[in-house]
Symmetry: C2
Subunit: 217 residues, 2 copies
């Protein structure tokens, strides 16, 4: 028995539904890059994807649903965080990935448009929140490995650490509108590692002496 | 000889021009709070401020100019950073100010709309960049005082420090769309102080041992 109004992509993964969803997602990303969220229309997505407008409205509801689903799909990639063998190397690689991913204006256009869309659409904001929650959860592995190696105190708040290393870059990209470079990424990594070692990210911690081995190893 | 097309607010400070500019600014802030940048119109600002539409177009050019001037005017307040007597207290107070200023949805609406407007208007982005550059420059006093007290190494990058303590809050407010609370503000302050003490913000620094007195004071 066929479902009515199935959620996008739930039927026949890899089949026609999956191909349609991917074509629609690509059209949404291209449109966001070219026009931004305020300029994106269902008509554009229909023309670009070759999927009929009535199908888009029936399955995605409209622009908000299309953008949210494109974000959901973006979160389904196989990305894993770097594993360089030590915490500072991993955090530096994470910060540099943020920097690199927004350094090319063409590549940055769609992710930037997602961040912008969240200011105007509650549904886009929910999808963005879910995307980053899942992405940062994957990043926590770098902190867990550091704890296991004795590089970070037990009880280190992994979620806070992986957000802290990205935050100075996102601040400049989307709030203060200042340039970001590799030196800033490295500074963010160095600062975060120093704070981890000092126990500043340990639950309930102040800035007292480290419970982990001292810095300088 | 009277200038033609003087920059807004340059004539007779405190007089009619200043009052008009302030009334227009208030209307822009209210409009941004109510409708956001995409919904703000010159018609709305004219009606709300009582300043004729043709005057608004002549002196501000349009919506982009109105928003940019409102931001310029917002930067002309007498705000000074906290001075609690020690670096962690100052940074904690700074982070808590960010948190508090966005905790009340009504108070947060206009500043949030400025951040959103920068995604859609290059002129708003320029004004936002100038606003934050000037605001963070004022904040640098807290780091300079800490260096003078011996709490922070000489050569500490004050601009990077005051951005680092705010960044985890701005990341959650405007990118990951996660809640921010006082505990997060305190964690950001503790992490930043630990990194400062370890020398991670000293120009050219790695994560080697602190050149300042050790933590735990």
């Amino acid at each position: 028995m066929e479902q009515q109004n199935p959620a996008p992509g739930t039927r026949r993964p890899g089949g026609r539904t999956a191909r349609t969803r991917a074509a629609v997602r690509d059209a949404v990303l291209t449109g966001l890059g070219e026009h931004g969220y305020p300029g994106l229309t269902v008509e554009y997505v229909a023309e670009r994807s070759g999927v009929h407008k009535t199908t888009l409205y029936r399955r995605w509801g409209g622009i908000e649903g299309l953008v949210a689903d494109a974000l959901d799909l973006a979160g389904e990639d196989g990305w894993t965080p770097p594993d360089t063998g030590d915490l500072e190397g991993d955090l530096r690689a994470l910060a540099r990935e943020v920097r690199d991913s927004f350094a090319d204006p063409a590549a940055a256009a769609a992710p930037t448009a997602f961040v912008a869309a969240a200011f105007q659409s509650e549904r886009a904001a929910d999808a963005l929140r879910a995307f980053y929650a899942e992405r940062f959860a994957r990043c926590e592995a770098v902190v867990e490995r550091a704890v296991a190696r004795g590089e970070a105190p037990a009880g280190t708040d992994a979620g806070a650490v992986v957000r802290a290393v990205s935050a100075p870059l996102f601040l400049r990209l989307f709030v203060t509108r200042e340039p970001v470079d590799a030196a800033l990424a490295d500074q963010a990594a160095a600062a975060t590692v120093a704070a981890v070692r000092a126990g500043a990210f340990t639950t309930g911690a102040g800035t007292g002496p480290a419970t982990a081995p001292p810095a300088g190893g």
